[in-house]
C-alpha cells in the first residue's frame, strides 16, 4: 500500500529511520515475535521438549499423533463417555468457564458502563461519580481479589465477617460459601471483573455519548419522544461503533484474564479458565507441551480480534 512521502522538505539519510527504530525492533523481535514462533513449535513436543508430542501417546488411549497436546488441551477436562456428560462437563471446563466470563462480564461491563454514563451525565457530581467508578482500574487484580474475597468470606459460626453473608443471614437465610459452590463461584468471580472494568467502559462510552449532537436529542424530545426512546432510537445507534470497539476490547481482556482466578480460587472448585489453566500446566504440572498448546489455543481465539484491530487501523489511516 503506497503512502505519500512524509514531507519532501525533511530530507533524511538512507539509514536514519532504522537508527530510530532499531532498539524497538530488537526488543520486540526478541520478546514477542521469536517467542511466539517458538511457543508454537513447543506445543508439538513433549513435556520437556525433547521429542515429538506423538511419543507421549499411550496404547489403548485416544491419540492425535503430533497434535497430542492439543487433544489433551481440548478434551482432558471433558467426560466424553456420552454426549450428555460431554455437554455437562464442558460447562465447568476452562473453555465453558471462559465462555461464561466472556458473555457475562462483557455484557455486564458494557451495559452497566452505558447505564452509569447516562446517569452521571445528568447529575452535578459527575466528575466525582466517575472517579469512584473508575478507581478499581488503578488497583491490581490481586488487590481486588483480596477485597472481594473478604466480601465473600464464609464463616461456619454465627458471626459472619463477610458483608454479603452477613446480609444474607440478616435476612434469615443460611450463609453461602460463595467461592466453593460450583456453578455459583464462577459468577462471583465475574462480579469482581465487572467491578474492575466497568469504569473503563463507562469512560469510553461516556465520551461517545457526549459527542452526540444536542440539537438532535432536543428535536426528538420536542417531537414527543420519551427518554427511553431518545436513548434507544437515537443515542445508541449513533454510538454503536464505539460500543463495538468496547466489546472487542473487553473480549480480549477477558480471554487473557488470569489474576482474579489465580488469587481467589486458584482454578479450584471448577472455576478454571484458559489463561490460568495454561499457568497450572506450565508451573504446577511442569507440562511445557500442554501448557504451550493451551497458549496457542488462546492466541487462536484472539486472532480474529487482531485482524479487526488491523482493519480498523487501516480504515482510520485512510481517513487521515
Amino acid at each position: 500500500m503506497a503512502k505519500p512521502r512524509v514531507s519532501a522538505v525533511m530530507k533524511q539519510g538512507k539509514w536514519t529511520p532504522w537508527f530510530y527504530l532499531l532498539p524497538a525492533l530488537i526488543v520486540m523481535s526478541f520478546f514477542i515475535v521469536y517467542p511466539m514462533i517458538n511457543t508454537v513449535v513447543l506445543s508439538f513436543m513433549n513435556k520437556d521438549s525433547t521429542a515429538s508430542a506423538a511419543t507421549t501417546c499411550r496404547d489403548g488411549e485416544p491419540c492425535w499423533g503430533i497434535f497430542e497436546n492439543y487433544r489433551y488441551a481440548l478434551t482432558a477436562e471433558l467426560d466424553t463417555s456420552s454426549l450428555q456428560s460431554t455437554w455437562q462437563t464442558f460447562w465447568t471446563s476452562s473453555y465453558g468457564n471462559t465462555l461464561k466470563w466472556i458473555v457475562v462480564m462483557v455484557s455486564g461491563t458494557v451495559i452497566l458502563g452505558l447505564l452509569i454514563a447516562v446517569l452521571v451525565d445528568r447529575v452535578k457530581y459527575e466528575a466525582l461519580a466517575k472517579a469512584i467508578i473508575f478507581m478499581p482500574m488503578a488497583i491490581s487484580f490481586v488487590g481486588a481479589g483480596v477485597i472481594w474475597k473478604f466480601m465473600y468470606n464464609y464463616g461456619t459460626g454465627q458471626v459472619q465477617i463477610g458483608l454479603l453473608n452477613a446480609i444474607i443471614m440478616g435476612l434469615g437465610f443460611d450463609p453461602v460459601p460463595f467461592l466453593s459452590t460450583v456453578g455459583l463461584n464462577t459468577f462471583m468471580l465475574i462480579i469482581v471483573g465487572i467491578w474492575i472494568w466497568t469504569g473503563f467502559c463507562m469512560t469510553v462510552l461516556s465520551s461517545a455519548l457526549k459527542s452526540v449532537p444536542g440539537e438532535l436529542l432536543e428535536a426528538a424530545r420536542i417531537d414527543g419522544a420519551n427518554e427511553f426512546q431518545v436513548f434507544f432510537k437515537i443515542m445508541l445507534p449513533i454510538i454503536s461503533p464505539t460500543v463495538v470497539v468496547v466489546i472487542t476490547t473487553m473480549v480480549i481482556n477477558v480471554l487473557k484474564l488470569f489474576d482474579i482466578v489465580y488469587v481467589m480460587t486458584g482454578g479450584n472448585f471448577k472455576t478454571q479458565v484458559i489463561a490460568n489453566r495454561m499457568y497450572t500446566e506450565l508451573y504446577k504440572n511442569f507440562q511445557t507441551g500442554r501448557g504451550t498448546a493451551i497458549a496457542v489455543i488462546l492466541v487462536l481465539a484472539i486472532v480474529p480480534f487482531i485482524y479487526m484491530n488491523i482493519k480498523r487501523f487501516m480504515a482510520q489511516e485512510a481517513m487521515r
Binding site: L119, A131, I139, F200, N309
Partner: protein, 316 residues
Amino acid sequence: MKRAKINRILNKIPLHAITILILIIWIVPTLGLLVTSFRPVSLINTSGWWTALSPSQGDTQRFTLDNYIDSLVGYRGSSTYRGACAAGTQPLDLHCNISDLLNPRGMGRAFLNSLIVTLPATVLPILFAAFAGYAFAWLDFKGRYFLFAILVGLQVVPLQMTLVPILRIYANLGLNGTFLGVWLFHTGFGMPYAIYLMRNFLGGLPKDLFESAYLDGASHWTAFRKLAVPLAMPAIASLTIFQFLWVWNDLLVSLVFLGGTKPVMTYQISNMVTSLGAGWHLLTAAAFLSMLLPMIIFFALQRYFVRGMLAGAVKG
C-alpha cells in the same frame, strides 16, 4: 411556577437514588478493606467491619496500626510485632530494629522490590517508543505502513504466548530471578502500544512545525529532541502512568520471572492469600499498602491516567 420546580426536583429523585446506590456499591468493598486493616485482629474475626463504630464493642481498643507494622516487617506470629519485640519473643529472622523493614517476608521489602522493578520497566519502553514513534510519524522508509500494521496486531498478543521460550533463554543467560530480566521483558511487551500511542500523537502535530524547523537547518535529531519530545509531553505523561501502573499491578510476569527470590508486592499478597499463614488483619493491610501508590497517582493525575488507560486497554 413553584409547582413546576418541585415537580422537576421530584422527577430527579429516582435518578439520584439509583446513581448514589451504584456509587455506594462500588465503594463499599474497598471501604471494608480499609476499615478492617485498621482493626485489631481479635475484633476482625469476631465482628463485621461495619460494626467498627458501634457502641457494643465495649472499651477495647478499636483501631490499631499493628496490622500495617506486622505486614511491613513480615511478622506472622500470634501476637503483634511490637508486642513480641517488647517481650523478646520475636522470631529469629526479626531483629526489632529498622532493618526489619527489609525482611524478605515483609511488605516493606516487597514495596522496595516493586519500585526497583517498576521504574526502569517504565522508563525504558517509553524511551525506545519515543524514537520509534518519531520514525513512524516523521521519517520515510520502506515498509513503514506494513510494519506499523503488524505493530497494531502485536498489541493484542497475550503474555502467555511468550513466557516459556523467554524463560528458557533466561535460564541459559542466568537472567531468571533477576531484575534485569523483568525490566527487559516489560520493555519488550510495553513496546507495541507505546509506539502506537507516540506515533499517533507525534503524527498529529502540525507538519509546518517540523518543516520550518528543518528549513532553519535543524536535523532530524534536533527536531526529535527539541521539538517532538517536548511537545509530546502529554502523551508521555499518559504513557508513563499507564506503564507504571501496569507493571506495578502485574502478577504473572513477576510470578514467573522473579517468584520468591525477589518478591514484589503482588507476589507477596497472592502468596499470603493462598497460604493459610496470614490472617485477614495482615492481608487487608498488605493489600492496602499495595494500593496506596496507584490510588495516589490516580487521584492526583486522573486526566493522564484515564487517557493512558484508554490507549493501552488491550495490552499483553
